[in-house]
């Protein structure tokens, strides 16, 4: 991988800064975000495994109040969302934005007094983010959960997360206006949009559901809007920015059909917010809302198809050799997962299918495919590309990287496949009122058992990834020490 995978055209007055200088300006904050994100991911996977074991042996770790399913499951989910995915997306977003815009963070060459102050501020923000995740997780463990799905952190922890995001996000968005390429890439648009949406979505949902809750009769649509938006409008756009910006450069070809990509961007923007409403089909909300959710879920196939056309239209003239690299493999599998969530999402949006499958493992499998597939795989790809450039040398252990890749893919598809299959069975049984509920529970046992196996594979994959980054960071630390 060359150190110049992200070249830029010249703009008068906005001379691009050397990519090494850009990397130097953001090296520490981005590495803090990446390193912590990966380690939270390992913990999230461990908790997910414990949670899945509890479904085959409810007595496992029983009798301890803070280790019940109801506390561990939200802990695992929130660590996945805020400890891992959002933090990795922050790091990936800052790095991609700075490199695509050809500007160091903090203006000038990134070395002045202003640059240093800004860097200190951003580093403090990354520490604040991790503190919020840690304390929020412990609060759920200690029995202070809010009980709102995906927003379980107490009000002070969510306020810390939002503040931390704003401190990092504002500078990232402002980079767009000082970029050196006159014609912005779609990836840059996705990044600007994602960094604007997170504060809006997270702030609105926390304000109306946690900080100053509205009457509960109005909370359902807001909850669903949040669950849809946080995936489709914050995490997915950053993942797509990674796919759109890195894949063409890694494969040495250009992105065709730019206008189509632009259309895809606006379509995703328009539909992303409505997408979550399929979580309430048949629920206690006005019928037009869930109808809009059905339409949005089906139409979501359009931006997904556009991503596919862009990516695979481009790869046709690519050389096979280039596709062998780990970053591009992850980015490609991420693109396939985007297709997967598009198809699965459209299917479960159909009222007839939703009627039997809405409360089953299919919903959970879809969420897993979103977070671990469409979002995490591209983020892995960005990390594998970014970290060597940030550290200034090829720091990955190739064997560990290859094992991480294969185990992630196997574990992910196994997990999603089992959850969807198990969900189909329980869904059909649930729609037949003559089958007793406890009977259905016993049917789902083999599926829960295989879920455990899949979670174990995913845990192995993330432990390997964690070992890989720890190894890289430790070597980097020793190298720097020697130079000093």
């Amino acid at each position: 991988m060359s150190h110049h995978t992200l070249p830029h055209q010249l703009v008068p007055g906005h001379e691009p800064v050397d990519s090494k200088a850009i990397d130097a300006s953001i090296r520490l904050p981005v590495m803090i975000l990446f390193g912590n994100a990966i380690h939270w991911l390992v913990i999230a996977c461990l908790l997910s495994l414990v949670v899945s074991i509890k479904l085959i042996a409810p007595g496992f770790l029983g009798g301890i109040s803070f280790l019940t399913y109801g506390r561990l499951a939200p802990m695992a989910r929130d660590l996945m969302l805020y400890g891992w995915a959002s933090q990795a997306a922050l790091g990936a977003g800052v790095w991609l934005m700075a490199r695509l815009c050809g500007r160091p963070l903090g203006g000038g060459d990134g070395q002045g007094m202003g640059g240093m102050l800004l860097r200190t501020l951003i580093i403090s923000a990354t520490v604040l983010w991790n503190l919020a995740v840690l304390l929020g997780t412990l609060a759920i463990l200690a029995g202070y959960s809010t009980g709102v799905e995906w927003l379980e952190y107490p009000n002070w922890a969510s306020a810390m997360l939002l503040l931390s995001f704003l401190l990092i996000g504002i500078w990232t968005v402002l980079l767009f206006d000082r970029r050196s390429n006159p014609r912005a890439e779609v990836a840059q648009w996705y990044l600007v949009a994602a960094f604007c949406w997170f504060p809006w979505v997270y702030g609105t949902a926390n304000l109306l559901l946690i900080w100053k809750p509205v009457q509960a009769s109005a909370q359902g649509p807001i909850q669903s809007w949040y669950c849809g938006s946080i995936l489709a409008l914050w995490l997915l756009p950053v993942a797509l920015a990674g796919i759109y910006s890195l894949l063409p450069r890694l494969l040495g070809c250009t992105l065709n059909r730019r206008n189509l990509a632009t259309l895809g961007f606006w379509m995703l923007l328009l539909l992303g917010g409505w997408n979550g409403m399929e979580r309430l089909i048949g629920g206690p909300v006005p019928a037009w809302m869930t109808s809009a959710g059905v339409v949005a879920g089906v139409l979501f196939m359009i931006p997904v198809a556009i991503v596919m056309i862009n990516i695979f239209g481009m790869s046709r003239n690519a050389e096979n050799l280039a596709t062998q690299s780990i970053p591009s493999k992850f980015l490609f599998m991420g693109a396939y997962s985007v297709l997967g969530v598009g198809i699965l999402g459209a299917l479960v949006s159909l009222p007839d299918i939703s009627a039997s499958l809405r409360f089953t493992g299919v919903t959970e499998g879809k969420t897993q495919l979103w977070i671990l597939g469409a979002i995490s795989l591209p983020l892995f790809g960005v990390m594998y590309e970014a970290v060597p450039q940030l550290l200034g040398r090829d720091c990955w252990n190739a064997t560990l990287s290859a094992r991480h890749y294969i185990l992630t893919i196997v574990g992910l598809w196994m997990l999603v496949g089992i959850m969807v299959l198990g969900g189909l069975f329980t869904g059909l049984a649930l729609s037949d009122p003559t089958v007793s509920f406890l009977n259905i529970t016993s049917y789902s046992y083999p599926f829960h058992l295989m879920e455990c196996a899949a979670q174990l594979i995913l845990l192995a994959a993330t432990v390997i990834f964690g070992a890989n980054i720890t190894r890289a960071l430790a070597a980097d630390y020793l190298l720097n020490k020697k130079h000093r």
Binding site: G147, E149, D177, I222, S224, R358, F359, P433
Partner: protein, 214 residues
């Protein structure tokens, strides 16, 4: 769209559509629903929670009951299986959640729907035993035991009225009894208060005969 203000305005406008529909509309419309008079008792519907039930609602939140239990009976236009399973006599509507501090709609049913658990299972003693050891009353249940919500203590004089009637291996040592803590009592008070079997103008209850015919 190559200047930041232009791009931001575009992003803002498009995003505003879903925000208006799914945030502003619910807050201004559903958030202003009011209770309706109850002709039978002279009170209001939905009924106000008692103090214990309100405290129990917090336990429901902090214990993460929503991870496995939903609280919504779906519209019959989508599926009639929720009503046929006995989870309710009519579909849930927004007004049903008026008295809640959080709408515990839920997204998975690893356990049963609880919107009408107070109607279905009105016996507090049953709930105590079920919380203490779920598979004692529901063999094969996936629910974890919430034995932390109970205390085992030596019987002082006479056995407490609140003591659980536990059988077999669950039974405490002779001379000891298992009694619910305040948290357990609050949680059960909340579960028993989950009753949405009353008719509302937008959700009439069908005649009992029609429901039982299934």
């Amino acid at each position: 769209m190559h200047r930041l203000p232009t791009l931001l305005s575009g992003i803002f406008l498009v995003f505003l559509i879903s925000w208006l529909g799914l945030v502003a509309y619910p807050v201004t419309q559903l958030g202003r629903l009011t209770p309706v008079p109850d002709p039978e008792t002279g009170g209001t519907l939905p009924a106000v929670y008692g103090g214990q039930a309100l405290a129990g609602q917090r336990i429901y939140a902090t214990e993460g009951c929503i991870s496995c239990h939903s609280q919504q009976v779906r519209q019959t236009s989508v599926t009639s299986s929720d009503i046929e399973r006995g989870w309710g006599t009519r579909p849930s509507v927004a007004r049903d959640y008026l008295r809640d501090s959080t709408a515990f709609l839920g997204s998975r049913r690893l356990g049963q729907d609880l919107s009408n658990v107070g109607v279905r299972l009105p016996n507090a003693k049953w709930h105590y035993i079920h919380l203490y050891h779920p598979s004692a009353v529901c063999p094969g249940s996936l629910m974890p035991a919430f034995s932390d919500l109970f205390i085992v203590r030596k019987i002082q004089g006479q056995r407490s009225d609140e003591a659980l009637d536990l059988k077999g291996s669950d039974a405490p040592k002779p001379g000891y009894e298992v009694v619910p803590t305040a948290e357990a009592k609050n949680l059960v008070a909340y579960l028993l208060a989950l009753r949405h079997d009353y008719p509302l103008p937008e959700a009439p209850v069908k005649k009992a005969g029609a429901a039982q015919a299934k």
